[in-house]
Symmetry: C2
Subunit: 201 residues, 2 copies
DNA sequence: TTGCTTTTGACAGTTACTCTCATTTCATGG
DNA sequence: CCATGAAATGAGAGTAACTGTCAAAAGCAA
């Protein structure tokens, strides 16, 4: 994915970053998000609290940094032009999920479980999702040769993301396990439903 | 809307609550959300900071308490059973907006402007919106005589809320004015589009 | 007025985050 | 290999959003 860092400095930075993230995730899982303080994370990762904030602007960001979205958008963009929008998104999704290494998959799973379980994180994830709507809308419009802020492209994007969102395991209920293969099937089914026309009117 | 409180105690509480909210909104508008401290709000409303937190669990909640959603859901539920879901939502929306007093409308406008302009608030508003998805899904299912967690009802609800969300003035862009009559027309147009079938495939 | 309950304010403590400054750690040209 | 500049780190002080406790004040009811 990312080009291997050359200098020693870069390598150290990457290591530190990874260490902070790993210990943070572990502690969150062990004791809960709210119960884990930044100081504890810093201690575990053997850095000072100052350094923690140099790597992640907020405690939330440790779990929220997401590199999947961008990849997905690119995959949509790469679909042949004659494929209609929702179908393109579906294919892109399958492609990205299939290409994901088991470790990445596992990591994403842990991340999702955490984020979905903590209301504050959930909220910020939704924010990312609206950003995703913007990007999806732009791609849909682009593929159709429309201006990037085209109204119906936005509505389509919104409906798509909303449909996907509705299918994600919702908080509160209790048994949150992150996105499982079963969830993935539900995601695809939701898109199919949207494509074939909802029972709306 | 709400039954007039009887005892002196109740009246005082309502007054205090209103005062805190009003001063908070004013200060937020004047100096910005982040620049306004809870202490300042408490000072302006002539209560102690302790009291502030007794009335509102967090600083965010001063602007986030929303009583429109519940009304909307009820309005949807009140539509005749033969009206298809998205159409029912559309009618309910029109009804609720039409019934809103000018003061309520103005207040909502100020509130929306604030919320949409501040990322943290925006995020939490989205959280409320997903709760709305849940409720909308339940109503849709209920109207169709399906179990309240029916899959296609959820997808429909998600797509609907997502479409509406996509049409709201997005942050970042700059000129946020809250929901205007123009925005309302856009909301209706989005629903029409969704009903008539999106250019999806 | 006299008790009882609710509301309030003062205060101390925790935690996430910000800023500043001195020290250490790496990179590099000689 | 070393001197010099740049970048990363740690320490510490400060702010602001909360939380919990306790005693004083205000409404209520007899």
């Amino acid at each position: 994915m990312t080009a291997p860092p050359t200098s020693l400095r870069e390598r150290k930075k990457a290591k530190t970053r990874a260490a902070i993230r790993e210990h943070a995730m572990r502690l969150f899982e062990e004791q809960g998000y709210a119960q884990t303080t930044v100081d504890q994370i810093a201690d575990a990762a053997e850095v000072s609290p100052s350094t923690f904030f140099r790597y992640f602007p907020t405690k939330e960001d440790v779990v929220l940094i997401d590199d999947v979205d961008a990849v997905l958008i690119d995959a949509v963009r790469a679909q042949p032009a004659e494929v209609p929008p929702v179908e393109a998104i579906r294919r892109a999704m399958r492609q990205v999920f299939d290409d994901m290494s088991p470790e990445t998959w596992e990591f994403e799973r842990r991340r999702q479980r955490l984020v979905l379980g903590v209301p504050e994180l959930r909220a910020r994830m939704l924010q990312q999702m609206t950003d995703a709507i913007d990007m999806v809308a732009a791609v849909i419009a682009e593929r159709a040769g429309l201006p990037s802020d085209d109204f119906s492209a936005r509505v389509t994007a919104g409906a798509t993301v909303g449909a996907l969102l509705a299918v994600l395991p919702s908080g509160g209920v209790g048994h949150i396990e992150g996105v499982t293969p079963g969830d993935y099937q539900r995601l695809e089914k939701a898109l199919t439903l949207l494509q074939d026309g909802l029972p709306l009117g």
